[in-house]
Structures are given as C-alpha cells and as structure tokens.
C-alpha cells in the first residue's frame, strides 16, 4: 500500500513537481540501484539501467494507478531497463595497457565481494542458478517484494514465482552441501 506521505508526493509528481520526484525516488535509491547491480554485477551497466529507468519513471508517473505498490512499480521499471540493457549486449574490449585503469574504475564491490568470505560460497552458488530463478531470488530477498509483486514485475503467474523460489532454495542448499562436502574431503 502507498503511505499517505508517498501518495502526496506522487500527486505532486503527477503535477510535474521536480522536488517531489527527487524526494520520492530518493527513498528507493538503494533498492533500485542494488537490484540493478545484483542483476548485472556491473556498476556501469547498473547506472545505465537506473538512468534510463529514472527517465521512464518521470515520464510514466502520471499514469501510475492508485493501489499499486510504488516500490514494485519502480523495481519493475528498473528490471525492464536492465533487460533492455542486456539486449544491447554491450561488450568492450580494450588494450591491455588500459586494464589497470579499468580495474581501478571497477567498483570496490568486486574486491569486497571476494574479501567477504562469509558469503562467498552462497554467491558462487547463486551464480549457478538459471538467470530467471536468480532474478526471482534477488527480487524476493533483496528488493523485498512479495510474491504477487514479483509476479507482476516478471509477468509470470504467482504459482511460477513460488515454484521458482522453492526450487532456488532447494538448489542452493544442494550446491552448498556439495561444496561443504568437498571442503571437508580436503
């Protein structure tokens, strides 16, 4: 449900109040950018997607219907833009002499990700999931969307989403168990 304060901000946005738009999306900056980042694993692509998503949000806010979850609506636009970016299949190849610069430019998140051993196994296990299941997991456990909201974002029946989440948890447990077994053997 949309909170009264948000409803007022939305109303002001629909009247093309720029300050209201700034306030409205600010509340969701973390979840929007985080969702894009987790889906792309690339800060630049996530920024590209979020930038285009903001354009779409500003453009389509006047048509936002009452009763729609704002967070789900915003995340849906981000997911659409990530998928659109993916279709571009942007691949850059660069001369080796520029590689250090690029590594520097890549976010510390990559380094941090490697350093953070607590979650490393789980992250590796996530990468083994099919894309659509991985995205469903991100929307559920990071974006914190409900099953009906995820169904709306991914344009799939709720049953499919429930099944994906169930399969994801089973598969992740299997992968983690296998990796533990291998570790123990060593």
């Amino acid at each position: 449900m949309i909170e009264p304060e948000e409803a007022e901000l939305i109303r002001r946005c629909q009247a093309r109040d720029k300050d209201a738009f700034r306030l409205l999306v600010e509340n969701y900056r973390k979840v929007m950018f985080g969702t894009a980042y987790l889906m792309t694993k690339d800060r630049g692509l996530a920024e590209d997607a979020l930038q285009d998503a903001l354009v779409q949000m500003w453009k389509h806010l006047p048509s936002l219907r009452q009763g729609v979850s704002l967070k789900a609506w915003l995340v849906r636009i981000v997911v659409n833009e990530v998928n659109r970016q993916r279709r571009k299949k942007r691949v850059l190849t660069v001369p080796l002499e520029y590689a250090p610069e690029i590594v520097d430019d890549c976010d510390d998140a990559v380094t941090m990700m490697i350093r953070n051993e607590d979650h490393q196994n789980l992250r590796q296990a996530m990468e083994q999931l099919p894309l659509e299941i991985k995205e469903t997991v991100i929307l559920r456990y990071f974006s914190d969307l409900t099953v009906p909201e995820i169904a709306a974002v991914m344009k799939k029946p709720e049953g499919t989403i429930k099944s994906r989440l169930n399969r994801a948890l089973i598969r992740l447990n299997e992968i983690l168990s296998n990796s533990e077994t291998i570790e123990n053997r060593r």
Binding site: R16, R22, Y37, V91, V94, F142, N173
Partner: protein, 338 residues
C-alpha cells in the same frame, strides 16, 4: 541449512554486496536534474559513455559485439515506440525515409520521420566507425527558413561491428511555428557529429564531422487547431486559454498566465481535459516559458467531435521562500472540437 536460515543468509549476502556500491550523490543529483529538467533545449538520454572508462578508452577503443549484427531500423522503431508514443508507430503515420550520406567514413541514414501540428519527429542511425562519436547538433529548418526548436533527443548506442549502423537517435522538434495546414512540409535536417580524437595530452579533441544535410518532403498531419483566446479569472488570477491543438501525436493546450504576486516562479499548471466522448485525461507533462504555459496530453484524440472541457485545477509553483506552493482554481474552459 534450514529454509529460514538460508533466506536470512541470502538477505545478508545481498545487503553486504550492495552496501558499498550506491551511486554517488553527484551521480544521483545530476541524473535526477537531467530527468526532470524538461525544457526546450535539446536533451540527450541513453547515449552515455561511462565517464572515466570512456575517457580512458577513447583513444584506442574497440567496440565489438559477439557476432551479432544489429539492423538500425528496429532501434529507431524501438525509440519511437518507447519515447514518442506507440500510437504513432501503430497507426503507420511515421514515414520511412531511407536517405543516407557518408562523410569522412561516417555514414548517417535518415530513417524515420513524422510531422503534425505539434511536433516533427526525426529518427536517424549512424555507423560509428573508428572512434566513439556523440551527436552534437541536429537542426531542422522549414522551406521558408524557420528553424524549429528542438524539444527532446534520445539515443542508443549499440556496440555493433565496425562500419554498420550501430547507433540510433531520435529528435522531436516543436512544430508550432508551422502555420496553415500544408499537405506536406519541405524540410532540411542538418546533423553535425563530433569525433573524439586524442592528442598527446590528456585532453580529447572534438573534431567535427559533417554537417550531414538531408533535404526531404514529409506528409503533414494537421489535426485540429482550435483558437480560443478566452480569459477566466479564479482565485484572483486571470488565465487565458489561447488554443488547443489536437494532433495524432498529442494534444497541446496553450495558456497565458501573467506572473503576479500570487503566482511566482516555475509554475506548473495541473490540467485535465474531458473530451466529447466523455473520456477524461490528465496532462502528462508541461512546458513553461513565462507567460506561456503549454500542457501536453498523450494520445490521439483527432477523432473527437463536439464540446470538450479543459480544467486548470491548480497551479503549483516555487514560492519566494523556496518552498512549493499551490493555488487552487479551478479555471474551467469550454471549447468545441470541429
């Protein structure tokens, strides 16, 4: 691991991973300002080499896509569809142009165009060959020398193979300077590209390429221009509705609101319209250049006939104190669509 624990692990894992990668405040502010800063200067979305990376790579950049060749036309259609309204593509009013010109290794192809009483839309693609190029200026001139104001530009760069059309751009121009109802327009489109060229310093030179000049004729979808020039006063503020222009691309209402003590900076009128068919539609966006205020309704209402109502419900503006203030009306205008 039990299900509950695994779910919590996932939450923790995602939050740890995203904790330190939030966009910077600068990035955020710049983008919000760009998105909301609708004005009549040419705007550019979606065509944005990543800043540091792009600067570093410009001298020797190689753009590749894994064996995929992109045709330019779907790009253009996608942009028309996404940014300029599906009804234009769906009704088949957009004209295929297929004119191309090559200058110093860069080929620009004028692909799609559309004109009505509110806007002229232009879509073109370009084969960006050896360096990363960005579009610099697109100018559109009528046969009688009127330069149409640029309203918005959108673009996509696809890292396709060398020498093919790997970028697509669309521009919208304000057609309100076009008078009468000509069956077609004679237009000249001038496009100038800038090519990044590195020298030995850290600076990147922008060597111009072009201009690419296209002279062409375009069917003109006049729609309905309804002159009204009626003034109504409410809340102590007189508002004049000058005209309503209904074209296939959109409906535009033009108001005159004189600045006063009551109505101050950055005024945004909140407007809705009830059409003869009973359909009610809210204005989707607005543009203000004091004292003229234009509001835009997305959709093709050229099929409407009879009595309509335009209601300016309230004005939202920035007060001298800096906060947002509202002034409720309503200012109600009746008009007739022929």
């Amino acid at each position: 691991m039990n299900e509950e624990k695994l779910e919590q692990e996932l939450r923790d894992c995602f939050h740890a991973e995203t904790k330190i990668i939030e966009p910077t405040s600068d990035w955020w502010d710049r983008n919000i300002s760009q998105v909301t800063g609708q004005n009549k200067r040419t705007r550019w979305f979606g065509f944005k080499p990543r800043k540091r990376l792009a600067w570093a790579l410009v001298p020797l950049i190689v753009l590749l896509v894994g064996g995929t060749v992109y045709a330019a036309s779907p790009l253009i259609e996608g942009i028309f569809d996404n940014f300029f309204g599906q009804q234009i593509e769906q009704t088949g009013l957009v004209q295929d142009m297929d004119m191309s010109q090559t200058i110093t290794g860069v080929t620009v192809r004028l692909e799609r165009a559309y004109a009505d009483s509110n806007v002229v839309l232009i879509g073109y693609s370009a084969g960006l060959t050896d360096n990363l190029n960005i579009p610099a200026i697109a100018t559109l001139t009528t046969a009688d020398g009127q330069v149409l104001d640029g309203m918005m530009g959108v673009g996509e760069l696809h890292t396709a193979g060398l020498g093919i059309f790997n970028s697509a751009s669309c521009f919208s121009f304000d057609a309100s300077k076009i008078t009468g109802s000509p069956s077609e327009l004679s237009l000249t489109l001038k496009i100038e590209y800038a090519r990044f060229q590195a020298d030995n310093s850290d600076e990147i030179n922008h060597k111009p390429i072009g201009p690419f000049i296209f002279n062409f004729h375009l069917p003109f979808h006049a729609g309905k221009i309804i002159d009204i020039n009626r003034t109504i006063e409410s809340a102590g503020v007189p508002v004049t509705l000058e005209k309503v222009v209904i074209s296939p691309y959109e409906t535009r209402a033009v108001f005159q609101i004189l600045p006063s003590e009551k109505v101050q900076d950055e005024l945004v009128p909140v407007v809705s319209m009830v059409l003869p068919s009973g359909v009610s539609v809210d204005a989707g966006s607005s543009f203000s250049l004091d004292p003229e205020h234009q509001t835009f309704f997305t959709g093709d209402y050229t099929g409407e006939h009879g009595a309509g109502t335009l209601t300016l419900k309230e004005m939202v503006f920035r007060a001298s104190s800096g906060g947002v203030q509202r002034l409720s009306g309503p200012w109600v205008f009746l008009f007739s669509i022929p």
